[in-house]
Symmetry: D2
Subunit: 341 residues, 4 copies
């Protein structure tokens, strides 16, 4: 039985609380938030928990093994450090921190104390993304040439982060997970329109280059009239569209492609054969990814599973975000990505 | 009455022939193509024309005032030069030439001979693009923040041009026309997947910066499972989606936006008000743009109109294509665009 | 202040409880259900209410002015009668009862006791339906020729009612409300497929004829692969599609139609002019209709509003359902509808 | 080699001419039309044919074996009779005639002269309908419970036929072909709105009952803002949507259904299990159905194939149309369908 405390029950926290609460091997014992009204409201729904406006009460509670931090981005590092220093496993919302050095510090702290860090990169726990991974790993799609991602809608604008830090963590985490590798180059262009004075970008176009020349393009925006969550995976054998807005067909696999005939004729020509075939929408289990994520965190703590969205994974996402924003400020200059390992 | 000859009746030529043929003040007298079968076929449909496999017959015909060239890109410059040297007005398919120097030479030739050049940038003659221009110019959309364009589908691959030269001329011409200005910076990323050995890019992501910080992103691809022709215009007052694949609603205007309250309060905060309103799809006239384009060429020759897709317009498009490909080869390096004027 | 009790907090009851609970002039005091677990669960969310498994406790509570009944259809009449006999205003879920005689008895009871009955025909309280009504009443659409409704999806099958009694009440209530009249003829065809042995129809096609020759066709099904909620209103001046599944564009108004030129020429011909124009999607307020419905019930009780989905309205819907099923059993025989008034 | 003449080259005739012309074992020798301009135009495209404004020239030409009649509906019978009396095989556009007696007369004539009649029910020659047939016949869909068809759009209004005779022949022919049987009951409702004075229905809802209780509902309209061509096939094992307007996915097969557990428990209940599974869009060959239809006619004449859209098939379609309109005039009265065999 893992005893869990939660810091932050604003926008996202309640979802985490709800999912940790139903796990059979978890006792959700304490909840903290600065807002007393939120606390009272949540407390009524979870009468077996203790509520406090002082998160230190959670850290000082010797019964608690693990702490979930669902607070604004800028507090991830200070709160995460305290959690680890208090000797508790750490579940941290994404992005892991506001810069890669802070991520490294957290990882070191956890390593020294032999604690687990998990970052809340929810997408890699969705049925859809795991279905895509199995299709990619099974070879059905051939080599992945490139991925194109649209993640756009109107708002919500943030004051302490631009659209890249707000929306792109999903995509970078997903891509690193699916490719099983990390981008080696990044460039990004974009603009500050609504919050021009604050210099906060509300639209960006990011290109990532993964090993073996695989490309990914990510368009993130807070300024689009339509909510679009659409990823196109172009493989040498099949193509796949993952539309997260579709209620009934999140994944569509197109048996479409181009076959290159390797045989060159006298005139240096070669044949390109277009293939247009069946379209297949596999049934996707509608299980809530947060539940899988919460269960996974507990499994990792109990040594039953190897962590997926570990501190290392979270760091690598932040490194890409950092360099993407660096490139953005430099007008789209291509930048190399170098990792610690 | 303008007497017109046409060189090239392969893929696109017949459309031009059909549209020039119905103009009341045009006599379509000669057609040339290297393929005798094509010539015979076209000749049967236009019994009043003379056919020849030797395009020089057209150039040497003193009755002909204007020549339409609809041949592969690499022949645009040599054929265009000969047409102008023969003292005839020139209608040249897009892109105007394979490099900007050739474009300049054509422009100079025309200027010296007092002849008109028109480049077949069809999109700016469509009802949809003109509707967008009137909405933009009328101020209804507010300031245009950025434009996002998807122009993707499966194939057709070309041997003598990458996907940028094949598909992006439409977008650059349209954007220059709509903005009434030219991009000052470009960067582009992309990849060569199917024709890797030939180094011909089949996918590219191009970012253009127009004066006043307006952005445009263009995604062109020969490797997408879905045919998409979609441009999103994000204005400060309204947003607009132009979906050229929609049979009945090419343009949709969204009364959506973000209103920034300029008034800062004590805490340095300011208010963002989201506005979600009506959606409006104006009825778009389904007139064939090629007919408008052909008529416009004749009007320009007759001095009744000022040219829109002039040689200068064609040159400016080619300059952007050139620099975009330069950036593409340099891994997305941002490049300035400098124009002659 | 109206004191309200609720009988039934299974599937739909909690929604009513939630909405009545937030009304300023309502005190929600008692909740009843046969299922103790449901009661406990709901009680925790509404700590100011008393819970009971015996609905008679509500009837006998002298403080309670009005009772909301959200129980299975077959209990509407017996429970509704008891509520009225106990001298309390009655909110009854739809359909009002399983036959028109029971509806009449309830209406008579209420009249004698000077009590209000309201039937939970939610659709007429939606922003979308009220928008349609204002467009129709304002004359913008011209004469309504016919309405075509698709209300289909997979399941949920019921044991005590066929698909007509389950789904068509929405449509009949809406049509009667929009037309301000009642159908004078009905015929219906359909079939029993999954529950063949029980003789319970799972698909039906109902045609209603309203005064002045206006038609309505309603297709209801528990056996369709796609969830469709789509009503097409064909007017002489405009046409309108109401798609309740669309998150962002529930109503689309098409400036399309056919203009008949009344002038006949020598040959007895007349001109039909097709008109294809703009399409307009008015922004629809996303207010919850149940809240409007609950508030309306209270207003009616307090004499501040004239009831819309009254007992009379509920009766008229049941009369159509009765005759539709009669026609269904008779293989689609057209039947007249005669009303009491 | 079959020598073919064509009577009528207005709206549909040119398509038939084009397709017969490319068949290797066909000589298309004569074309007739009352309109000289049409004749001249078509003659230019098919220089090897003779044109005449007098269709009797075709009938009297001893070289001609088969005649294609593509003229208005009311002339099908008189022209068809003459063709058969002249001893030539007959290809007749749909519907076969304006009443069933005329159809029977044509069939008798052909039988006596040992000639073939084929009616132009194109849909049963489409790749899509044949794909559906193979899925149905292969048992993959289970028992077909019902079919729902929408065939609606704005216009084109006709003067000599109502919307049932105009649009429903497609559906009835397709259903008879797919089910391999004929409907035994029909009822239809509808209305005359735009051409009220002429009593020509512009919208109709037709229900057909096929043997074994299978239902089909057909909604035809000239008065809908959207062009819809959508057929939903509900089977006990799978469901299928055939959307003829979709450019890339005409057929979608849904692995959805309801499994009835035959085992009843103590309370007389039984279990319904909903199944929601994969969706599959088979690639549909885009071959032109008219070409297959034309080739089939020749094969039948040459004894290489057994006719599908024979005179008998055409008659059965007309019988349904006749009774549907009878029911329509009788306010939707259900009528039995009795066939000659």
């Amino acid at each position: 039985m893992i005893n869990v405390g939660v810091i932050g029950c604003g926008y996202w926290g309640p979802n985490l609380i709800r999912n940790f609460n139903v796990l059979s091997n978890v006792e959700l014992s304490m909840i903290s938030d600065l807002d007393e009204n939120r606390l009272t409201h949540v407390g009524m729904q979870y009468p077996n928990t203790t509520q406090t406006t002082n998160y230190k009460d959670i850290l000082e509670n010797p019964d608690i093994n693990a702490v979930v931090v669902a607070t604004p981005m800028s507090t991830h590092f200070p709160l995460g450090s305290e959690v680890l220093k208090a000797g508790k496993h750490l579940f941290l919302e994404k992005p892991m921190a506001t810069n890669s050095d802070d991520c490294r510090t957290l990882i070191d702290l956890a390593a020294k104390k032999n604690l687990q860090i998990m970052v809340g990169h929810t997408f890699i726990y969705t049925s859809a993304v795991n279905k895509i991974k199995s299709l990619m790993d099974g070879g059905e799609m051939g080599d992945i040439h490139y991925v194109n991602i649209e993640r756009v809608n109107l708002g919500l604008f943030q004051k302490d982060a631009n659209v890249v830090w707000d929306l792109a963590p999903h995509d970078i985490s997903m891509l690193n997970f699916l490719f099983g590798s990390k981008p080696c180059k990044v460039n990004a262009t974009g603009g500050c329109f609504v919050q021009k004075d604050l210099g906060i970008e509300d639209v960006a176009f990011i290109t990532l280059e993964y090993p073996d020349g695989r490309l990914a393009n990510i368009h993130v925006s807070w300024l689009d009239p339509c909510k679009i969550r659409r990823c196109t995976f172009v493989g040498s054998r099949k193509m796949l569209v993952y539309d997260d807005m579709s209620p009934s067909e999140k994944i569509r696999v197109f048996d479409k492609g181009v076959d290159v005939q390797p045989h060159y004729d006298n005139f240096g020509e070669f044949q390109l054969l277009y293939r247009s075939g069946d379209i297949f929408s596999p049934h996707i289990d509608s299980a809530e990814p947060l539940k899988a994520e919460a269960a996974h965190f507990i499994d990792v703590i109990e040594g039953k599973a190897i962590g997926q969205s570990t501190g290392q994974h979270g760091l690598e996402v932040v490194q890409v975000l950092e360099q993407a924003c660096e490139s953005l400020k430099a007008g789209g200059k291509p930048l190399d990505l170098v990792y610690d390992d």
